[in-house]
Amino acid sequence: MRRVPLLAAAFVLLAAPLAAHDFWIEPTTFRPAVGSVLGVRLVVGQRFRGDVLPRNPAMIAKFVLVSDAGEVPVAGRAADDPAGSVRIEQPGLALIAYRSLDSSVSLEAAKFEDYLKDEGLEAVIAERARRGDSQKPSRELFSRSAKSLVAAGGVGTTGFDRVLGMTLELVPEKNPYAMKGGDALPVRLLYEGKPLAGALVVALSYDDPDKKISERSDKNGRVSLRLPQEGVWLVKAVHMVPVAGDPNADWRSVWASLTFEVPVAGPPSKPE
């Protein structure tokens, strides 16, 4: 797998909404006070704007907060909004992780092909063409692997690159809370624990969500995303694999996302 060149402004914004929806975690604040209860929203939408997803216990495979102190559940009742809440016990970086069970969806061929194109899944388009499936509706299973990095007490220097064993996982290799606008964020993409090459990784700023910053992952699963400004960011990637032996599905997709904040004022700088 050769490195695909960076696609400069390759993705023209489409006027029509797409069938595919991103999924991400929006904590009530990215820098919660120690001792506070942090609300954790799950959001489904497009271009970093979406609908709040109330807690659906039937869909949760994992919903936790991981810090130096270990792993605690993000708790809540069915249909709660925010979908969960967790007490922040100690200062430092902490990761919120949400993994869903599979859902199934079937889309008309044209819609499905559009979404594959938009998510950079040209290989799936090619494979469907090879199988003669291009005109057929999709039969897809999909799941969500969302992470959010928060800085409890506004501090912390370690733990941002913790690997949580998500199906598809975006691992920042630099602490975003120690970054400034214009800095590059190296991110590693892992699928089932192994580097995933050739996947389109996209970053969106909450303040300028129509501007996609994207790069294909290299053979080590790495991208380096230059984030032009401070604020809240979403990094996302989708991976899709063929399904064998399931009468109801041909493809399985996993949607990874990572949200974090590059603080506007910037904390006391601590080089990595």
């Binding site: 869909m59 869903s100 069970l101 859902s103 889309l107 494979e127 399985r252």
Partner: protein, 368 residues
Amino acid sequence: MRRLLVAAVFLFASVVAASAHELGTIRVTARFQKGGRYEIDAVIDRQHLPPGFGASGTIDPRLGPIGNLTPGLASEIGGLVAASLNGVRIAFDGKPVSPPVALVLPEGGASSVARAPELTLRFSGEVPAGSGAFTWSNAVRLGTYMLTIRTEGEEQAARQWVEGPAESVPFVLKSEIVPMTRGRVARTYLVLGFTHILPKGTDHILFVLGIFLLSIRLKPILMQVTAFTIAHTITLALTIYGFVALSPRIVEPLIALSIVYVAVENIVTPRLTPWRVALVFGFGLLHGMGFAGVLSQLGLPRSEFLPALLCFNAGVELGQLTVIAVAFLLIGLPFRNRPWYRQRIVIPGSLAIAAIGLYWFVQRVAGG
């Protein structure tokens, strides 16, 4: 890339829901307003409908004509509307209702419906009087979806996941949004009208006592009370329906002044003059506006507007008649034939009423 595509796939035990938009392919929001109106929006996420869904089909006549669905639009999305709504069942306390339903036109109007990623169909109705709980179900099999229920005045929405064709968990309606039954309305507003006079309406009590003190004979009392009643009924209705409006800052001081007037005239003359009846009628118009102010603060149930208005007015009337009856029993019956009735009762009583009325007038002008 090929290597990835043929990579071994781990088949995890999977719980399969049927929607890419995790909120549901058809998500539902019900809004209940004070006074009993409700709107239920079924939002159809067209991007995630299964292929072929709603391609054809006829709309269940039980739904009635769909608002905004012109024949042109019906040829485009009629099947979708049918597939989405034919299985809907809205019920209060288990009893199904059939409110009218309309297509909510997207921002671009009817011409943009064909391309709209979401379609909203809105049921609008009135909560049946005395209802306890609301339930929703839709027989269409599209997986789990979110039902959001908002009640006016409540910050938090109630939410529940509805499993496919199953019925929602009954939502217990807040009493403020459930219209009362007609019998309840009648009783409630009769009592409200009565208590607005007795014991709350000291100014109205004094006015009625002023009317009573003019003459102990039946005819003058009857004529004044009738004139007063007809007048306040007229302005109460006209004000409530919005045909007339006069600021309480004008009405309330004038009501005080009307008390002063009847009391002073009681001192000047013991006879019922024609202008007295006319004036009492005029004052009745003012008091009616005062009643309307109170009634509009209390609120009237939309579904039982007229019965509530009539009962409130009747309650006011009963209150006034009670004041006169009590005054007659306590003052009229024992003392009316005494030679000093006028000197010791009517004149001092009227003086006191006039003084209080004058005090209120000054207070209301200054306070207003």
